[in-house]
Symmetry: C2
Subunit: 469 residues, 2 copies
């Protein structure tokens, strides 16, 4: 493991400094890849990676066939590109998640799949059945950790994957989100550095901001997840105290870290005694099969806190999630007790009852089929209606597409224009503390495909072309 960041990163940082210092100014052309390759004595791949990183940060733009140019300053959301840096994105996130009073008919910016995909009738009867079994005394006696029957059902689901997790290791939380937040708070002190993905889930950025932590952004590949060489270098440089990642069907990219890479990730982190908060709420939504093994499966030292949820697969709004917290389980159980005592009993009891019923696998199969079909339809429409040069991911699970528009487009401007027409989207800068990804956006393929949605995608394409004009 090198104490230095990888070469492309150093090259990118050097060029970024020239841009921030004003040596390179908006509109200036960067040296060509071949020139830089020669002058630096490095490979073309290194130069391309560096330029791609700068592009991702919104600092430079590729102009087709004519090279790379320094981008104009990113007006409404200039965030300083320090590294690691205190996080200040909450305000932006809340602004962009709001609808500004517009009625949204095409929720392509939503973080949720359509509620129509869930078995509400079965949930209703589970609620009635679960409530009949409510024993008043249980309510206050079984508090630590949450509903025992549900923790057992979750442990059984781990067992199907070949993982031995006891109900005692599981702490039920109000959705995975509370579990992730409590885990992060447990593991850090204000001012600490924390490894996160770039682009990554905005709620992680908000959590870092609220706790006064510094974000160490790890470059993340759209297909295979966080770059482990970069991570090793960042560990050596910044001594982070925790790492928060999504290893399967990452939000927003949709990438699935291959099994051997998950294993290497855990090995790297455990070697440095850095706990991993593994946000794994999309794992059950692998389109063509059962969930991939999480990184936690490769942990030997109990250092992985694995967070899951029923919010994306079964019962959105019920706020039933969990953390299998490894050696941190006793501390996390206490953190949960102090923060909000326990999860809500009726929802926990109902989901336990539903899982005991054995219908969940059938529901998951039909949900996965629906999500796969919807993704194909949305992806095809984007490729048809968006300008040439647009790149779209093709995740094997979950319900997000990550769209990179050709240089010169601005997803923040697009967001505001689209919202006026009732179309939402999630602009790229939501997903980074450094404010990059201006030419990127996340689209939600969790909505049933309808002519109205098709028309909305076509209209988005028109709005993007208007931008270029």
């Amino acid at each position: 493991m090198s104490a230095e960041p990888p070469r492309y990163r150093r090259l990118a940082d050097e060029l970024a400094q020239l841009i921030h210092g004003g040596t390179l100014r908006p509109g200036d052309r960067l040296p060509s890849v071949r020139q830089t390759q020669a002058s630096r004595g490095c490979s073309a791949a290194t130069v391309f990676q560096a330029y791609h990183l700068l592009e991702a940060r919104g600092l430079i733009r590729a102009a087709e066939r004519s090279g790379y140019f320094v981008a104009p300053p990113a007006a409404p959301v200039t965030l300083p590109a320090r590294d690691p840096q205190p996080v200040a994105v909450s305000e932006l996130v809340f602004q962009l998640l709001g609808t500004g009073g517009h009625e949204v008919h095409a929720p392509l910016g939503s973080a949720f799949p359509s509620p129509e995909l869930f078995p509400f009738d079965k949930l209703r009867s589970a609620l009635a059945a679960g409530s009949r079994r409510l024993v008043p005394a249980e309510l206050t006696q079984q508090l630590p950790g949450g509903h025992e029957g549900l923790r057992r059902q979750i442990a059984l689901r781990y067992l199907r994957l070949g993982m031995s997790i006891t109900p005692d290791e599981i702490v039920l939380t109000d959705g995975a989100l509370e579990g992730l937040n409590l885990s992060l708070q447990l593991l850090t002190r204000p001012g600490d550095a924390v490894l996160i993905e770039s682009p990554g889930f905005y709620a992680a950025l908000q959590a870092l901001e609220r706790l006064g932590l510094r974000a160490v952004e790890v470059p993340t590949d759209p297909a295979t997840g966080a770059d482990l060489d970069a991570m090793a270098a960042l560990i050596a440089r910044h001594a982070p105290t925790a790492c928060w990642l999504m290893t399967s069907f990452q939000n927003p990219l949709g990438g699935l870290m291959p099994a051997d890479k998950k294993c290497a990730l855990v090995e790297l982190l455990e070697r440095h005694a850095i706990p991993l908060i593994e946000d794994d709420v999309y794992a059950e939504l692998q389109h063509d099969g059962p969930p991939p093994l999480p990184a936690k499966a490769y942990s030997t030292q109990g250092g992985v806190l694995h967070a899951g949820s029923f919010a994306k697969t079964l019962a959105p709004g019920w706020r039933v999630g969990w953390v299998a917290a490894g050696r941190f389980a006793p501390a996390l159980r206490r953190a949960k007790l102090s923060q909000s005592l326990s999860g809500s009993w009726p929802a926990q009891a109902a989901i336990a009852h539903y899982l005991e019923g054995g219908d969940h696998e059938r529901h998951l199969r039909s949900l996965r089929r629906a999500l796969a079909a919807q993704q194909r339809a949305l992806r095809a429409a984007v490729l048809q209606h968006f300008p040439a040069g647009t790149r779209v991911t093709q995740p094997q699970g979950g319900y997000f597409l990550w769209v990179e528009l050709p240089a010169g487009h601005d997803s923040l401007v697009l967001h505001h224009a689209a919202l006026k027409e009732g179309i939402s989207l999630a602009p790229g800068p939501l997903f980074s503390a450094e404010g990059g990804f201006r030419h990127c956006l996340r689209l939600n393929s969790g909505q049933p495909w309808t002519p109205a949605l098709a028309a909305a995608v076509e209209r988005l394409g028109e709005l993007i072309r208007l931008q270029a004009g």
Copy 2:
């Protein structure tokens, strides 16, 4: 308002320094009240107040008819008596709240009233009815703030008290506890000083500890709540950034701050722009009538965050609470979104449905009657079986009794001895960051009065007498 703390406090601090510095040693006799009165030129009342404060801190003990002596060091839980001080009680709280593997048949240390007091049949049908009205799309659209119908019902309950609170000002949280924690986090930065009661609710101490805040403990009268003169002096000295109090049926003392004092409290805090986090979860449990007005009713600047809950009055374990957050409502709504998105929909919908049904007042009347009768029975048993010199509060609401044992008794030792016999209690040191109140304990009168409970109180009395021997 004086910049100095009150005279008795200065005298107590001075004597405490002599004790901590070793000038006064365990067993040493303190100057008599008359001597001190003469040497300091102050009133006997001032000396008594100072000695009482030192006794409450566990530093001195009164020996009947022979004066005050320096107490032996408080072995297992010596916490330094700095002022204000970082908080480190969580470990103690969790130890003492646990049952150490013993089966508890007399839960006199519990924080909850007996679940048997709640209308579970009605709650079950409300759950079924509420779930039938679940509209899938609502689950993700009405998120900010929580279930709209429930917020309206809560606003209507404020209106009965003559308070105009809009549903928009209300943020639903997972019990009051999450709301209190999120409020505190919103209003403070690590290292800030926060005013709390002494003795006070241990969850507040835990929250301060988790957030790295310093506790400024305000002496609190068992009958009328926090001492406002002391508070004014502490504000001048420590510039606290928030205040967290229970103004009605305070935990653990049971005191009810009179209306004019609540008014003066708000005036004092708003004059210094210090937000008040008003934990008011027992207000509905006034034994002989409707809830007293909260301090928030006297606020003119929106600086009071008023937290309530259905956990103590209707549905323990369902985790449905709220904060009417005044001018902090938008910020708190965002904090809740970032921390755990929303409360659990089924519980919120069911309680909204139940409240619309109009049976709640009748249930509350019968609950209040039961709590009043149970308190009378428990109080009489304590006075009968505990040693002479025992003092017991007589709260007008809630379900806690605060018991002061005669000098020489130790509630921590008693706690461990009683737990072995299946009797729990809440020892005094749970309720202070300074580790005082060793001779005090909190008993729960929320349990139906039974011969078994009566026998448990009698046995507690025996254990106390054994201690003295």
